[in-house]
């Protein structure tokens, strides 16, 4: 892919890769922050179980 880029874009790409390698990254997600998707999915599974059991 890189070979298809103009020299200016390649230079820009290198600068960005360097910035990311130096740790210029967005805020990381802590494992504790998975609670919301896990809790909602858990409630949905419970709802499905109750509905299926009630049929």
């Amino acid at each position: 892919m890189r070979r298809h880029l103009t020299p200016e874009i390649q230079k820009e790409l290198d600068q960005r890769i360097e910035a990311i390698e130096k740790g210029h990254l967005p805020d990381p997600m802590h494992i504790r922050e998975w609670w919301l998707p896990l809790a909602i999915t858990g409630l949905i599974i419970l709802f499905l179980y109750l509905v299926a059991a009630g049929q």
Binding site: M1, R2, R3, H4, L5, I9, E12, L13, R16, I17, A19, I20, E21, H24, L25, P26, D27, P28, M29, E33, W34, L36, P37, L38, I40, T41, I44, I45, F47, L48, V51, A52, G54, Q55
Partner: protein, 465 residues
């Protein structure tokens, strides 16, 4: 700046990793854009089919479960795209290899033709009902002649809009999103005010399977197909998220939870009027005046959805093949017109969802397993952009361990459930097919990733962070 120049700028923006300071989406923006992009023909249709085989409560549970669980399973990939700011098919190089990622792009482009067909043919169905309301010619009111003509005309317009460049997205935001919003408000008014909750809860499905368990398993499977179908679109939005949490929560809440509102309303309406086809129940539910207004909104919404799909396909192809002209990239969507010549593909929506489910569940399982358990979250951004593939070169650019796992996952899927014949295997009613396929492909991949003959024995496992 011309349309072509706008596209070139977007393509370079698509190729280059997005840096932290350039991110545009917080959590709320992210949910809104996901929902705006996601709610369309496919949401109403899958809801309609679900309400065709299940009563209200089980239908609601099947829709929520079928969409939320696949999104939860795919969400670790959101972290990859947020962290490094890369597009799906660039990020996928780490697990599939550069050539393998391009093969995945081709598969995405083929499936995208199916989604474009769904949007355009539903528009055709809406148009023939509008023609019928105004007493137009018989031939233009038929599904066999009128609907394909309107669908192909709509596709031509959508293609032209998409070819115009980022205008498609502006058109989508200004026209498609409000049109969908009005349809949803109309459905809420119809279901909860005009009909009443008791009537909805008591309604029985018109085409249920022989057993409740089979109806539930099938409905879950269709929704799982829609849930996994978002995989190729993960990168394009997540790379713009402010933080990893915004990306993961936004993706899960937007596509996995909030989007279900449209499908649930579709299911409840289908239960009340006994049809899964939104263009049919819109007239039955809204009467001649509001029904007609609803059909016009549905036409606008599907036109914008089709434009965005053609545009997304063109941009994805240009990102991987920057030398292709924008016209050529957009022309890859043209075969969709062939699928609109008869109602066959549109009527086979649940079969199509079955194929989407097995393909995306297999790829998703492999990509998540690779990121979490093989690479252990360590990705080398430099090697993602390396001409030869760098440490992600694998065997001639393809990670065969990934593709063998995908194929075996597919075999398992078809043994469990044949979507063409709608034939269920012995386990289908207990475990369905798409979700176990995700796990089987992922676990198999973890074992195969240790076979040097398949992976080329590269240093991919020990990439730098």
């Amino acid at each position: 700046m011309s349309g072509e120049q706008h596209v070139e700028r977007e393509v370079y923006f698509g190729i280059l990793p997005v840096l932290r300071g350039e991110r545009q989406f917080g959590l709320l923006d992210f949910i809104l854009i996901q929902v705006g992009f996601g709610i369309a023909a496919w949401s109403f249709l899958v809801g309609g089919y679900t309400g065709f085989v299940l009563p209200a409560l089980p239908a609601t549970a099947a829709i929520l479960f079928g969409n939320a669980l696949p999104l939860l399973l795919l969400c670790p990939l959101a972290i990859l795209f947020v962290r490094y700011g890369v597009e799906t098919f660039i990020g996928a190089r780490s697990s599939l290899g550069p050539v393998g990622s391009n093969i995945f792009l081709v598969i995405f482009a083929i499936l995208n033709l199916g989604w474009i067909t769904m949007a355009c043919f539903m528009l055709g169905e809406s148009a023939i009902r509008v023609v019928g309301a105004f007493g137009g010619p018989e031939s233009l009111q038929s599904r066999e002649i009128g609907a394909p003509i309107f669908a192909i005309l709509a596709f031509a317009v959508a293609w032209w809009i998409a070819h115009g460049g980022p205008l498609a997205i502006k058109f989508f935001i200004r026209v498609g999103v409000p049109a969908m919003f009005l349809i949803i408000c109309g459905l809420i008014l119809y279901i909860f005010i005009a009909q009443g909750v008791d009537k909805v809860l008591a309604a029985q499905p018109s085409q249920a399977y022989d057993s409740m368990r089979r109806s539930l398993a099938s409905a879950i499977e269709w929704n799982v197909g829609l849930g996994f179908s978002w995989l190729p679109y993960f990168g394009q939005w997540n790379r713009l998220a402010h933080s990893e949490k915004s990306g993961v929560w936004g993706t899960y809440l937007g596509w996995g939870v909030v989007l279900n509102v449209a499908a649930i309303l579709g299911a409840l309406t289908a239960l009340l009027v006994g049809s899964y086809e939104p263009t049919e129940w819109m007239v039955q539910a809204g009467g001649p005046l509001f029904g007609l207004f609803g059909l016009v909104l549905l036409i606008l919404a599907n036109l914008t959805s089709a434009s965005v799909l053609v545009y997304s396909q063109g941009i994805s192809i240009k990102t991987v093949f920057p030398r292709w002209s924008w016209t050529l990239a957009c022309l890859t969507a043209v075969p969709a017109a062939l699928l609109m010549l008869t109602p066959t593909v549109y009527d086979s929506y649940v079969t199509f969802l079955g194929y989407v489910s097995f393909i995306m569940a297999s790829f998703g399982g492999v990509m998540v397993a690779d990121l979490m358990f093989v690479k252990k979250w360590r990705i080398s951004i430099r090697d993602l952009y390396d001409n030869s593939g760098g440490i992600y070169r694998y065997v001639n650019g393809v990670n065969w361990a990934a593709y063998v796992a995908v194929v075996i996952g597919g075999i398992f899927y078809f043994w469990t459930y044949d979507p063409v014949a709608d034939r269920a295997g012995p386990l289908f009613e207990y475990i369905t097919a798409g979700i176990p396929t995700f796990f089987i492909s992922g676990i198999l991949y973890m074992a195969l990733a240790r076979v040097p003959a398949l992976t080329g024995n590269t240093e991919a496992v020990g990439a730098t962070s």
